[in-house]
């Protein structure tokens, strides 16, 4: 039974066997497996968003010397559930003179982009909805589709504030994506693969953030900054900028459509932190220190998904910490920062990383 929890791959094994026994048709087995995966992921996403929103509110509250939600359930843990029910049952207002089709499509685009990206993340050995040999490339492609949703929302809302917000979003997300990709690329050169599973496997002897000669640390910092900007989080939340643009691109949205934007935002935060954890911090790999077998053995006892979620939530906390301490940059300062400082730095980092990788230099070489 112990093994069953720790070795998540045996769960998948068991499911496959069970399906094969009962269905007999290999194609049907694959389809059912996909459906199960999608169902699990959908449930996971909704719960995840609620948990993240709850965490965000609590983190914010404690940074601001207050308690946050306390009334619904013990320590307010059901607050987000109540909020979700409220958002789902509210009237969906579509303002007059909006471009109806695009207006209704936009939240879906945002949500689907975030949702699909999540299916490539390896949560634990073999717990990964889709394994794909260019997974990371695909994620970067899919997740940048989200910007179309934001642009469409801003354009279709027929609201000048929304349009300003959407234009800012377009410029910002596309710019910062470059730095994010360049930072990841530096590590991918070392790892030598675009497959998430193999990236995790390649860190069996040490995480890339330490192994890659300082390249890893620089890349991680760049990626953290750029991905914060990609998620439109403070200090880069000029897209929403509630003190300037009221609510930016989602000013005109209400009820479930607003909830989708909101959900997408939080899933994106989780997603970038999950990518960061996978590429820089070894994904579900336990923390190992050189030859300290006893300690490593203790760490091995912790189930892989605990390692994974621990790492991701630690990173999520950092992103939330940013939000509740930093003010917001101005739009031109934001662009200047990206094009004059962050991107050149990411390029140099990539170049140095490539040279180092070509000459076969990383720490803990035995991999």
């Amino acid at each position: 039974m112990n093994n069953f929890i720790y070795k998540t791959d045996s769960m998948v094994e068991w499911l496959t066997n069970w399906l094969q026994q009962h269905l007999h048709n290999p194609l049907l087995v694959e389809i059912v497996k996909m459906l199960v995966g999608a169902g699990v992921l959908a449930g996971f996403v909704s719960v995840l968003a609620m948990v993240l929103i709850y965490i965000e509110r609590k983190v914010a509250a404690h940074m601001q010397q207050r308690l946050g939600p306390m009334r619904v359930g013990p320590h307010g843990i059901f607050q987000t559930v109540a909020d979700s029910i409220k958002l789902l049952t509210k009237e969906c207002i579509t303002p007059q003179d909006v471009d109806r089709f695009v207006f209704n499509l936009a939240p879906l685009v945002c949500f689907v982009a975030a949702f699909v990206s999540l299916s490539f993340i390896p949560f634990a050995p073999r717990i990964q909805a889709v394994n794909f040999n260019v997974g990371i490339l695909f994620i970067l492609g899919i997740s940048s589709l989200g910007v179309f949703g934001i642009l469409a929302a801003g354009w279709a809302s027929n609201n000048k504030w929304s349009l300003l917000g959407a234009m800012r979003a377009g410029a910002q997300i596309i710019s910062y994506e470059l730095s994010a990709v360049l930072a990841l690329l530096a590590i991918l050169i070392f790892a030598g693969t675009l497959d998430f599973k193999e990236i995790v496997e390649s860190q069996r002897n040490g995480w890339w953030i330490w192994r890659a000669h300082g390249i890893g640390i620089v890349a991680f910092l760049i990626y953290t900054i750029a991905s914060t900007a990609e998620c439109n989080r403070t200090p880069f939340d000029i897209v929403e900028g509630e003190s300037e643009l009221t609510a930016g691109f989602h000013t005109e949205y209400s009820a479930i459509k607003f909830a989708m934007f909101f959900l997408a935002e939080f899933i994106n935060v989780f997603l970038v932190c999950a990518i960061s954890a996978t590429v820089f911090f070894g994904g579900w790999m336990p923390f190992h220190i050189g030859d300290m077998t006893a300690l490593n053995g203790i760490f091995d006892l912790v189930p892989p998904f605990v390692w994974f979620f621990g790492k991701v939530f630690a990173l999520v906390f950092v992103v939330m910490w940013f939000r509740w301490t930093f003010p917001r940059l101005r739009v031109d300062q934001l662009m200047r920062f990206e094009w004059k400082y962050l991107m050149p730095l990411a390029l140099i980092n990539l170049g140095v990383g490539a040279v180092l990788a070509a000459y076969g230099g990383f720490f803990f070489n035995k991999f």
Binding site: Q65, G241, F326, P327, R330, D332
Partner: protein
């Protein structure tokens, strides 16, 4: 750093100016100020404030009320400087009727006013952070403002529109706990200002957003009649408490916070320095204040304002407030003209915001610290 250049591209035949309507309901206009902003992309080409959304006709209402009743209307001008407004009005009435104010009341007026100044600047500091996108300072500011509000509540039962300072002194004496509580607040708040500095002033993004942004040159500030921190941040050393002292202000040792740059950052640090100076004044006032004594001169039941013109001024948290009173040998004034600081301060705003970005409207307006009921009256 100068203002970003405005767009001078040749306009296509289909070109239309992009107008946005900032307010009357907008998170950063601090009430119901409406600004029509003409934009080119993100750059501000022009800005027109539209006033009057909270116009209550206070100047006209004064003509139907007695001098003491008018005191509570002055609370509603700049509700964050209620004590100072009360005081300026009381001075006007005292001047008209030749009323002397007891010593203890004079000190209480100073202490209350300086506490109000701190409370007002605390709120401004929090809102300034929020306008720049940092939510946390807002709650820090309110946390500390709460202590001042408690002191006010114990002195007169009210937390916002106190109506405490009145012609002839103050309405009632403070409780025995007052001195201890105020001293405790002063001790508590001294290190907190340093916390404010570390949380906001030291932040590189705040400095990027404010340094060199929205420069108001000294000559323009004077031409528009700006007063208070806005004027002092433009390098003009002018503070009513120093230059035209009233009450017992000459007895205190403090300095006027002045900064020569005239940008948003200067307006920010001037207000932080003012808080420190106010703490100094409060400590001195508490030391010098007579422990006992009357707090209100006995007034005749009807205050008949003699024929003539009277004027008194006071330095509120936002600048100079002046009441011009025309008496007509009747208990009700013939006419009252109120000169409010925010109105003059705001008038300089459209000029200096040209060429800056949408986000700078919020920053600069925030450092002007306008209170809309004070503008509209």
């Amino acid at each position: 750093m100068s203002a970003p250049t405005t767009d001078t591209k040749a306009k296509s035949p289909t070109y239309q100016d992009y107008f946005i309507n900032m307010g009357p309901q907008h998170p950063s206009t601090h009430g119901v100020l409406r600004m029509i902003v003409k934009l080119s992309g993100e750059t501000v080409l022009g800005l027109t404030p539209h006033l009057g959304y909270v116009h209550r006709g206070i100047e006209k209402m004064t003509e139907a009320q007695t001098a003491v009743q008018i005191t509570h209307l002055t609370d509603r001008l700049d509700y964050l400087s209620a004590h100072m407004n009360n005081w300026a009005w009381s001075m006007t009435v005292e001047q008209a009727l030749g009323i002397a104010v007891p010593e203890r009341a004079e000190y209480l007026r100073v202490i209350m006013s300086e506490l109000t100044r701190i409370a007002s600047h605390q709120l401004w500091w929090g809102v300034f952070g929020m306008d720049l996108g940092a939510f946390t300072p807002f709650l820090y500011g309110f946390r500390d403002r709460e202590m001042i509000n408690d002191i006010f509540e114990k002195s007169c039962g009210s937390r916002l529109t106190m109506n405490y300072i009145c012609p002839g002194g103050v309405t009632q004496d403070v409780t025995g706990e007052f001195e201890g509580e105020t001293r405790r607040f002063v001790e508590y708040f001294k290190p907190i200002i340093e916390e404010y500095e570390t949380l906001v002033s030291g932040n590189v993004i705040i400095q990027e957003r404010t340094k060199g942004v929205g420069i108001l040159p000294a000559d323009r500030a004077k031409a528009y009649g700006c007063t208070g921190p806005v004027l002092r941040a433009s390098g003009v050393d002018y503070d009513l408490r120093k230059n035209h002292p009233y009450g017992v202000y000459p007895r205190f040792d403090f300095r006027t916070a002045v900064s020569p740059e005239g940008d948003s950052w200067a307006r920010y640090i001037v207000r932080l320095e003012e808080m420190r100076q106010s703490l100094k004044i409060i400590t001195q006032a508490l030391d010098q204040m007579p422990k006992e004594g009357p707090v209100r001169t006995k007034l005749p039941p009807t205050l008949k304002i003699p024929k003539g013109r009277y004027m008194a001024r006071g330095e509120t948290a936002r600048g100079e407030i002046a009441f011009f009173l025309v008496g007509n040998d009747s208990p009700k004034p013939y006419r009252v003209k109120i000169r409010t600081p925010c109105f003059s301060n705001l008038s300089a705003f459209p000029e200096i915001i040209k060429g800056w970005r949408v986000a700078d409207i919020v920053t600069v307006l925030s450092t002007f610290d306008v209170v809309v009921p004070d503008i509209d009256r």
